[in-house]
Symmetry: D2
Subunit: 342 residues, 4 copies
């Protein structure tokens, strides 16, 4: 951490800053520049940095610059080896691309069972499906609730596919853990710190979606909450950010894949369905995500998207999905070949 | 609602769309253009629009355009008269500017009592203060919890100022309602629909903050959730949005003030402290907000910002605040004079 | 085009709108809704739409919604067949991925000749290099000028690679056309309409970069300027947009690739060097771009990036580039296989 | 400037960086931290910083952080006194708010003369009007050209109001300088460095608009180009930035006013017409801008906005404008009173 003093800061002001820093057990190294002094702070600065706002208020302080990253347990430096998560035998974060697929919402027994078989046959390894849906309008379909969870569990048992579903609320956690193998934290909950702590303590595998308004650093800070509670089975999920472009629902931040892999040891999953909002953009962005190094994909598939109760516009039909799985397979083989050659 | 058919859509496709729309009791008016047909939908389209994604999947449909607004109870059309909220005698949404002020976090009995007296003497009508703090880092100060609420209530009793504090979670609601007069929904919770419903049912006055990457329409949709549960004491709060500009913490969307007043009957409050993140920008943006037509302000004041445990950089000192209140007074008199003249 | 009248608009107001529209030779189809009337406009609405602001001022008009796209010559509807551009035998927009590579700036005879041979040997088909550099600081290196163009031409002759270079100004156009095979319009000039018209009339092949805060529609409108002047050799270039994320210089909008291919018949080239600003993100985003369907890439390569006079941080070394070309080759073969299978 | 070395950087790597820095006449101050070394650079770092990309490529370098600002002549430190610009007796940057008003485009002799008289009588001090219009569509009205300039000059002579008009191109500069008193650089040209240098050398007063995708720092860098060429009569203009919010054309960045006044000595003018794109938002945002400390406003007024050839939707009618001028007057008196009291 570096404290930049204003041009013209007095020796007294510098002394006050130094005193406060040293009182907390850290050391100061001062650089006297042509116009300004700079104070380098040596020691464990995590706490000090989280209180930097106080320091910024001190007279003579112009700015405070962080040198080290604000997350630890999530960082590549802390754990240089890729985290691998085993979900009932499905390995995430290893050599193979894992595809999670299923409908946006569970709508009926028939629909979820049919979809589960379709996605399994096409090569998906995890079944997705929502039972509680966060909807921007109070007048929209809000999900089937626990009944939906039971149907998901039934589909899981029939096909052997582990299940991922969204947990919207820490109170629902015990109920959802009865039925689901992976807990999904939605984009709108990425900074619901109560929920982050609850899933951290629960210990269940978690897929943490990036908020549509959040930086990669903030995503890693939220992962840090879960890790700090002792749960190291965290997957990061890029699902598009909000920009000025309105043609797509969100803008898939493809660079986030290699950046998150550089900064962190956690697996990176991409959600091309929500990132684009249009079914005919799901295939090209899925292939792009694999080529950029993603560990997996989470994709919306509906047997009859025209009558889906939510997200019909972005769901693939079974035949679209089967084609996409073939493409993903040939891209991921090419990526692996590139990798092994390199 | 208007359904735009693709150039070259067949009569059969148009018939399928028409059939589905009419089945739901609505009527179709067709316009045959040079290249494309357009289907105007007449009737109560709110539900149909919330399911538009299905319609978009129908063959031959290019796009669906909403004509009427997706919110009703929050709209100016629904209630042309300004909503006025009375908080123990403090009138919000009327002729007078209401200033809510206090520290970001309650830190001690002394601090909150001292601040309460300072802001009251300077003319503030509501006391703000956080007891539970949502923090991006798990290593930061997280608030005093219920102890903080008790201190707030004591400060309220001593000064007679009603209290506003943030509710982060629907489970905390009963406890917070014991101590607080206004419930604040933070920007990160603007789309926490469980919480919106809970405060809607609770019936307590609510200050709803705009998410930092939410549109004004989404803010009004979230207000709609609360109103739809029967609570009509809702204030909208503009607190800055996230943009590419990094000099300020967020970008205060000053136009949101007149736009929200046009679209809705609810009072509009501005939070210049979070919008800018810098104490020396609070005064100019406060004055600008009043001039643009805001009904009130919520401002961070700390007796000793240099040692604040959170948000020190954006808190005003007591003397800054006293000066600002004088400025606000002279701007708001000028605005009222303008208004009365006009 | 659809004109939405306000709830409560009078018959007189509707008559005035209709009169103005019909005076221009278009027809009106009126839909009487429950609350509002909607006027569908039939006829050639391009001119009318460009003047929509007048209509929006008429009493009783709430909003005007476009149905058809604001560009014609650039649209897929106008020309359903992919445009193919032949640059001295190099085919852009066909089956093969075309890579354009070279230094950000021409710095010396030695540097550009060395780089030209390196990129040619690795498989690049076009040589890139800047002679005039738009720099945000007046104190930065501004390029070698015409001397740089001569060196580019020499490198082109020695290697047989056609040359692409930026034209910043319509006055420079005759000079640059003497030396360059493709004219690059930089992101900052995407809406320099004088320049767009000049290159449109010049007839030389053009690579048009998307402005860093321009929508895809605006990019296509700028392409329309060039096409409308009779030059149909236009390539679209995605080079990253500006968002709130600060880790990368810009955010590569990967979805723009399939979207632009859907909306337009023009080839799409991606610039991963400027999109990310970091050399170690160039390889993953290049592979992603190919997988998403790009027709080509433009990449910065410098024999000694550590001493580059501009953009050193995002330039590949020769050995990075050779590796990347192998990866691109294996991804593009996989994509083609996918495609042929499909 | 501070160079942050990676954790684990070798002494050799640090020596290489130090060697390169010292070769350029600067000095290094090293801070040895717990994990990483930091090198503080002392000396005139402007040139070194503009070449920082080379340094970032050196082995062992993690990041480079600027301490001082990248602009000099435009900075408040360079000139602590507010710049005042005198345009034929109209003082900009002093105590009084200066309003520039007139139509978006000159459309006819009658229109511009009528408007000039109206805005003068209402209290405007400068006449605005466009003769050459940058339009996103090649099919829109492009302005009257030199004929428009002549009409502007005639209106100026009749009313005594100095004239501001846009210069789109450095070639047009001599012609435009014959007729105009202030040169406007449009948002799309904020980084047209050829044009910036040309107006810098011309020495005529300049109004420099912020690009809709540009940070405040970039605006000041562009001002620096003009100042560095010897022209110190530069006004900065905030005209809205592009964000995800679509209700307004752009988002007026109200905080830019106090921030630019802090960072720079140049006058700050606000363009509420382009910032909002809607005439009924012009009045509230104009008042807000004055309250936030702007030195002036530039406002579109049209005698008959319904038939305007451009920007009709955002133009005020004469009677709207007269009302607004009264409001501006009462707000600016209140601001001045606040100021004098403070």
């Amino acid at each position: 951490m570096v404290i930049i003093m204003r041009a013209g800061a007095s020796e007294e002001q510098i002394a006050e800053v130094s005193y406060l820093v040293e009182k907390r057990g850290m050391q100061i190294r001062r650089i006297i520049g042509e116009y300004q002094s700079i104070l380098g702070i040596v020691g464990d600065v995590a706490t000090l940095y989280s209180e930097r706002e106080q320091l910024e208020r001190l007279d003579g302080v112009e700015n405070i610059v962080r040198i080290s990253k604000p997350f630890k347990l999530a960082s590549r430096e802390f754990n240089p080896v890729d985290t691998i998560i085993n979900i009932n035998g499905v390995i995430i974060g290893g050599k193979d691309i894992v595809v999670m697929a299923g409908p946006c919402s569970v709508e009926s027994r028939e629909q979820i069972l049919e979809t589960a078989h379709i996605v399994k046959d096409a090569g998906a390894k995890i079944l997705r499906g929502g039972a509680f849906k966060p909807r921007t309008s109070p007048y929209s379909f809000q999900g089937m609730g626990e009944e939906g969870l039971k149907l998901l569990a039934e589909a899981s048992q029939e096909t052997g596919l582990p299940v991922i579903t969204e947990v919207m609320d820490h109170q629902m956690l015990p109920m959802i853990m009865e039925y689901a193998d992976i807990l999904q934290i939605g984009a709108r909950n990425m900074q619901n710190f109560t929920l982050l702590r609850a899933v951290g303590e629960a210990g269940h595998p978690v897929l943490l979606k990036r908020g549509m308004m959040s930086t990669m650093e903030e995503l890693l800070m939220s992962a840090e909450y879960i890790l700090a509670c002792g749960n190291d089975k965290v997957m990061l999920c890029e699902r598009g950010i909000r920009t000025f472009e309105t043609y797509t629902r969100n803008t898939l931040d493809i660079s986030a894949i290699p950046v998150l892999k550089q900064l962190s040891h956690l697996p990176v999953i991409v959600d091309p369905s929500h990132a684009t909002g249009k079914w005919d953009l799901v295939a090209p962005t899925s292939k792009a995500s694999i080529a950029a190094g993603a560990d997996g994909l989470i994709i919306e598939v509906h047997p009859h998207p025209k009558v889906a109760l939510s997200d019909g516009a972005q769901s693939l039909t079974p035949s679209n999905f089967i084609d996409l799985m073939k493409d993903i397979d040939c891209i991921s083989q090419a990526v692996r070949r590139c990798y092994e050659r390199g």
